[in-house]
Each structure stands twice: as C-alpha cells, then as structure tokens.
C-alpha cells in the first residue's frame, strides 16, 4: 500500500500538479499565438524572402573564404552560389509546403533565433535580432515593473482605506475620477510632459538618463535614472489608478457587507483582523484577475508611452522597426510581448493556487464571476 502523505505535502503536490498543467496549457497557447503570427507574417512570403536572403548572405561569406572560389569565372561563381543555396534550402526543408515551413519558423521565433535584423542594429553594433532585443529588455522591465508594483500597492492600500469610508469626500472623488482611466498612459504622458517638462520645467522631457550618462552603477547614475523615470511611471500609474481603486473598493465593500464579516464584528474581533481575513482575503482573487487584465492594456499603452518619452525600451524599438520595415524585429517583439502576457497570467495562476485552496483541489473555482 502506498504510504499516505500528510495533508501539507498532499496539498503541495496537488497544487504543483495543477500549476504544471496550467504551465503546459499556457505554453501551448503561446505556441499557437506565435504560429498564428508566423502564418500571418508569411502569407505574403515575407519570412521566406528574409530567410533566403540570410542564407545567401551566409553562403557568400563562406565562399569568400574559399581560396579556389576566387579563381573561378563570374558565371561559375554564381552557379556555385546557387547550388550551395539550394543545398541549404533542402537541408532546412524550406521548400516544403507552407504549413510545414511555418512550423520551422515558429520554432525559431519561440527561441528568438530570428537571425539578423533587416535594417536595425543594437547599440553595440550587433545585427542579431536577439541581441537587439536583449539590450532593450532591461529598460522596459524596469519602467513597467516599477509602475505596476506602485499601481498595485497604491490601489490596494487606497481601496482598502476607502472601503472603510464609504460615502466620504474621498470616496466620492475617486468614484468621479474613475472614468478618467479610459485615457491611455501615453496620452497622460504627453499631458505630463507639457505640464512638468515645459510649462513648469521640473522634470526631464525624455530619455532614460542624462546625456552624456554618468558612469554606470554610481549614485549619480541612479539619481539620473530616478529623475527620468518619474514622469513615465507617473503617467502609467495615473492612467490606471482611479479605475482600479474604484473597482477594488467596490469588491471590498461587497465583502464588507457579507455575513461572515457581520458575525465577526458581532463576536468583537479587532477591526484590523476582520479587514485582513474577511474582507481582503476573499476579495483577492477577483482583485488579482482585475489587475492581470489591467496589466495587458498597460503593456500595450507602454509601447506608445516609451515612444513619447524616448525611453529606450522594446516599445520604441518597435517604432523604429516599423519605420524601417524591419520584419524580424517586429515578429520578435510580438513573441516577447506574448511571453510577457503569459508570464503575467502564470503568476496570476500561482497566486490563485496559493490563495484559493479550492483551485488546488478541484482544478476550478465553482463560483462564476471571478474566473471564467
């Protein structure tokens, strides 16, 4: 007979199994999304063109090294080039039907092995798409990470605070201001630039650090970075804050009227404990779902925001790529953003699994509404 696991370990095992299933499911979704992107990109044959050009360029490089090659007449050289190119195409299976070709491109896109960019180059001079993107990843994550953390903590704190003050001036203020979150972050960013970089010049109008940048990893660099991140981060925060405060405070209020809370109050439990255990805790799953959905629209808004503030992230890279019709970079950016979204969703799943034991046990929440 199998030894019985203690409840804690069993919980962990089931939770782990559930998360593994969700991880696989998410991976499959990303796979499908990238495959669709590749299909769309290659319907006009664009990816094939790019690949052929790259193959020819590589072969031309190789042949140039070959001593014997240089002595051949022009026609023979051309023939040799074509032969080699055809060999490569056969080897890589690039003359197979459209659907199979797309699988190969999807595999490449997933690992970001997209070869060389058509027109762009990284700051260090590399034409490799993966290098170009790697360089821009840091600033994007820095800006986005900082702002989402600030939005989450600020909204949670203010929403809790407001739920205790239903009907007060502050409550009404946030309710009235909630629709302002319809504005995307980049528009708020433009308004902030006009106000705080031009009308009352207290903040820099763009860029990530002053030019020329102070030496890296010094206090001066950190200060410069901090002064440049204020406006864009503020734009992101302001564009999402009021609506999330309103939505979460409503969720908390819904819970605050429920029976367990009334019973707890009647029992004389301290208010803080009630708030944490009976109001915040049950409301966290829908709050997190709401936050995760908000994050996806924040991601899209941040693409234009980076352009508005000339922040050297993936968003402004996309802009340049579009201006120069650089398809591999755009595809790589699509893959990266798809991965960002799925990572966000996965973190949400982990949080769900931690917060709601029903999910770990049954693999689904029986009440509708929060998850669908």
């Amino acid at each position: 007979m199998r030894p019985q696991l203690n409840p804690g370990a069993r919980d962990l095992a089931q939770g782990g199994l559930y998360l593994l299933k969700r991880l696989i499911s998410l991976f499959l979704t990303v796979l499908a999304a990238v495959y669709l992107t590749v299909l769309v990109a290659n319907m006009g044959g664009k990816l094939d063109e790019i690949r052929l050009v790259q193959i020819r360029a590589t072969i031309a490089e190789q042949l140039r090294q070959d001593e014997g090659f240089k002595n051949l007449p022009a026609e023979a050289r051309q023939q040799r080039l074509e032969q080699q190119a055809q060999h490569e195409v056969d080897r890589l299976g690039l003359d197979r039907p459209f659907v199979l070709r797309s699988i190969e491109y999807t595999r490449q896109a997933l690992v970001l092995d997209l070869g060389r960019a058509e027109a762009l180059a990284s700051d260090k001079g590399s034409r490799n798409v993966a290098d170009i993107l790697a360089e821009r990843l840091g600033p994007t994550l820095l800006l986005f990470g900082t702002s989402s953390v600030v939005v989450f903590i600020a909204s949670l704190w203010i929403a809790l605070w407001l739920s205790r003050r239903y009907g007060s001036h502050w409550d009404r203020l946030f309710t009235i201001l909630a629709p302002t979150s319809a504005t995307p972050s980049w528009l708020v960013g433009i308004v902030l630039i006009v106000l705080f970089a031009f009308a009352v010049p207290v903040a820099p109008s763009g860029g990530m650090v002053t030019i020329p940048p102070p030496p890296a990893w010094t206090m001066a660099y950190a200060l410069s970075l901090a002064s440049h991140i204020v406006l864009p981060a503020l734009a992101i925060v302001l564009s999402s804050l009021f609506l999330s405060v309103y939505a979460w405070r409503t969720l908390f209020l819904l819970n605050a009227d429920s029976e367990p809370v009334e019973l707890a109050r009647a029992m004389g439990l301290p208010e803080r404990l009630i708030e944490r255990q009976y109001v915040l805790r049950p409301a966290l799953p829908p709050v997190l779902t709401n936050f995760a959905l908000m994050l996806s629209s924040m991601w899209m808004g941040s693409i234009l925001l980076e352009q508005v503030f000339e922040w050297p992230g993936i968003g402004s890279l996309l802009f340049q790529a579009m201006g120069q019709h650089d398809t591999p970079v755009i595809i790589a950016a699509v893959v990266i953003y798809a991965n960002f979204q799925s990572i966000t969703l996965f973190v949400l799943e982990v949080a769900y699994a931690l917060l709601d034991p029903r999910i770990r046990l049954s693999g689904s929440v029986t009440t509708g509404g929060a998850r669908a």
């Binding site: 979704t29 999304a33 669709l36 319809a182 433009i190 579009m322 019709h325 950016a333 699509v334 509404g369």
Partner: protein, 421 residues
C-alpha cells in the same frame, strides 16, 4: 432600477453634454466639408496660410500682440504709354497694420496675363512714418511669387533686441514697365502669426480642418468598431455556451490565444507587410475585440442560463439553435452590454489615435492621431508650439472621458451588483 435613474448622476449628464457636442461638431463637419475636399486640402495645404501660425486664443492668453494675415489685391492695365510701345503701369496696394509684432512672411503673388514679353517692375514701400523703402526690381513673365523681407519694410527702430514692427498705414507700390499689352494683377499677402482657432502646421495646413475631420473619423471608427465588437462578442459567447462541446472549447482556446497575442505589435506587423489603411486594419481590430476577456465574462454569465426552464421548453417546441441563441440567450445580457459598449468606444477611439500616431492608417486622412504624430516629428513642444500638441490631446481626452462618464454611470444604474455602490 431603470434608465430614468441616470439623471441622478451628474457625471453622466456632463458626459452626455460633451459627447453631444462632439457629435454636433462631427455632423456639422460632414455637412459643410465633403471628404474629398478635406483630403485634398490636407494633402497640399493652402499657400495663402502662414507656416506654423498660432491659434488666435494663444495670442490672447500670452498677452502678445500677434497679427493675423492681411490680404490686399490690386489689378491694373497699363495706361501710360511712354515711347515705342513701352507702357507703364502702377498698382497701389495699401494695408493697415495694427500690430507691433513682425509678420512671419510677406509675399507678393503677381500674375501677368495677355502679354507675351517680360515685364520689369520696381517695388516701393511707404511706411507710416513717411519713409519710403526701395524693395528692389524684378523681371517676370507670367506668374511669379516675390518674397519681401518684413524687416526691411516694417522695422520700428534700428537697434534693440526686440524687432518691433511699426504699426500704421502702409502702401506698397508696384511700378511696372511692359513691352506690350499686358494685364497685371497683384496679390499681397502679409502672413500673420496667428490663424483661426487652431493654428496651422509646418505645411500651411489649417489644423482646425484636421481636428474637425478627426472628430468624424474618431467617432465613426469608435462607434462602428464598438458596436460590431460588442454584439459579435455576445453572439459568439452565446453560441459557444449553447452549442457546448467542441465549439465551446474551440472558442475558448481561440479567445485565450487572442488574449495572449499583443494587439498593437500584430497590427504593426500587418501594417508593415500588407495594408496600413485604417479600414483594412479594422477587421483585425474587430477580431481581437470579439475574442477578448469580455467573451469569457459573457460566457460565465450565460452558462447558468443553459438549464433555465424557458430554454428547456424552447427545445421542446423545436426551436432551432439560432433561434435559441438569438432570441433567448442574447437579450438576457443586453442590460450588461449597453454600459460595456459605451465604455469600449473610447478604447477604439484611442486605438485609432494610437495607430495614426504609429504611422499606420491612411496618410492623407486627417485624424487627431496624425496631428499628434506631426507635432511629435516637428518637435512642437521644443519650438514653443504647445498648442499643436494640446489641441488633439484635449479633444482625445474629452471624447474618451465623455464616453467613459456615461458608461460608468450606466454601469452603476444597470449592473445589479454595483447598484448600491
């Protein structure tokens, strides 16, 4: 709670006023300026308009004394015959200049018809203080545009940092010598520093034109996309819920894939490779709108309705799938649909602005996003042209917040869960 209770929400009334105002502007624009005219004017610009002129209210607000454009025209036939077929003609172009700020440019558009030979003319300017300024001699045949230096004609004093203009009555005299019969007409344009309520851009285009047509495009795009998107989402969700099984699973997986795919980069990809026209991208935008998180929440709402008694009795009397979906399931969620439809309109308006800002969309179509994109590329903020940025941004925010206010209040009125809060 019924729709009548919306009047208790002042924010909704404010939002409605704003939106009605914008719709009024859009309708007025549609009636007074046909699309073809607007596109033609936007593509070329008007040579009679100043470059980068500020709006009239900018002058008022900053207290500066900024002049508007003055146009004077005159024509003459050569009268005085001098000798051997040479005739002399004179055109006088008087104008009153009221401001103390220099005009941005002065141009003389001369057209000489009926003659076949060159004419030679001398330009003299007479200033309010009596001094006469020689503005040079030129020869032209046919049409010509003569640029004059504002400072040469209108400078108030010789030194000093501020180049003020002398205000008063000016007169420009054109003394022409023609060698045969000629008809001379001259148009003097003293380009001002301000124009209209919106200003002009770097290509002499009236910004007001783009802002007004932008209203039409924004509202049109937003309304159509939001309507098609909302109704489509609802119908697809209801179909999935009703038919269940493979269809439902397929719709759910498709929705998950669409939620993971980033909308704007995909649109950029399609814009780069295929079509970058706004109407060409609209189907993709709508597809993303259909398979969104809203579909999942509609589905969650509709799932319990599958086993409702009235649906079961519909099955009993032999109702078709289509009838059950369209007649029974869809109308149940309409109260929730209306606020979410109105709230999704600003999302599409801003999406259109984002796409125009990115460079997608028809380059000849005047939209708010295009004006913003031009302002950005011309570094408007660094050139003290903040109005170029403020005007489209203000309109965008007005439209977005207007719809959001109405949608927010409708949500509170119609959504039973939020009712008491």
């Amino acid at each position: 709670m019924s729709l009548r209770h919306i009047r208790y929400y002042p924010s909704a009334l404010l939002g409605s006023l704003v939106i009605l105002g914008l719709i009024g502007v859009a309708l007025h624009t549609l009636m007074t300026m046909p699309y073809a005219t607007a596109v033609a004017a936007w593509r070329v610009g008007d040579p009679m308009l100043p470059i980068n002129a500020r709006p009239v209210w900018w002058g008022w607000l900053s207290g500066q004394d900024l002049p508007a454009t003055i146009r004077v025209s005159g024509a003459t036939n050569p009268t005085e015959a001098l000798r051997e077929g040479i005739r002399r003609a004179s055109v006088e172009l008087p104008f009153a200049y009221a401001s103390s700020t220099q005009p941005s440019e002065i141009k003389l558009f001369i057209e000489e018809t009926a003659g076949k030979r060159e004419i030679l003319f001398t330009l003299t300017g007479k200033r309010p203080d009596g001094r006469e300024v020689d503005l040079g001699q030129r020869r032209i045949r046919g049409q010509a545009i003569v640029r004059l230096d504002p400072e040469a004609l209108m400078l108030a004093s010789g030194n000093g940092e501020e180049l003020k203009a002398l205000s008063g009555q000016y007169a420009l005299t054109l003394d022409a010598l023609c060698f045969d019969a000629a008809e001379l007409s001259a148009n003097l344009v003293v380009y001002g520093q301000v124009h209209g309520w919106a200003g002009t851009d770097h290509r002499r285009r009236d910004l007001g034109l783009a802002l007004r047509w932008g209203t039409v495009v924004a509202l049109g795009f937003g309304l159509i996309a939001a309507l098609v998107s909302s109704i489509g989402t609802l119908t697809i969700a209801a179909t999935g819920v009703w038919l269940g099984g493979v269809v439902d699973a397929a719709i759910q997986r498709l929705t998950e894939v669409a939620m993971i795919m980033p909308v704007i980069p995909v649109l950029m990809l399609i814009g780069t490779l295929y079509t970058s026209s706004l109407w060409g991208l609209l189907p993709i935008v709508i597809l993303f709108g259909w398979f969104s998180s809203e579909l999942k929440s509609h589905r969650a709402m509709l799932l319990p309705m599958r086993d409702a008694p009235y649906i079961q009795s519909a099955v009993c009397y032999g109702a078709s799938h289509a009838r059950i979906v369209l007649r029974y399931l869809v109308p149940r969620t309409l109260p929730i649909l209306i606020p979410s439809l109105i709230t999704s309109i600003p999302a599409f308006v801003f999406l259109e602005a984002s796409l125009s800002y990115l460079g997608l969309g028809d380059p000849s179509m005047p939209t708010w996003g295009k004006v913003l994109a031009d302002a950005q590329s011309q570094s408007a903020l660094f050139n003290d042209q903040a109005y170029w940025v403020i005007e489209p941004v203000a309109l965008l925010m007005l439209s977005g917040i207007g719809f959001a206010l109405i949608g927010h209040s409708l949500d509170r009125v119609l959504n039973p869960r939020l009712r008491s809060y």
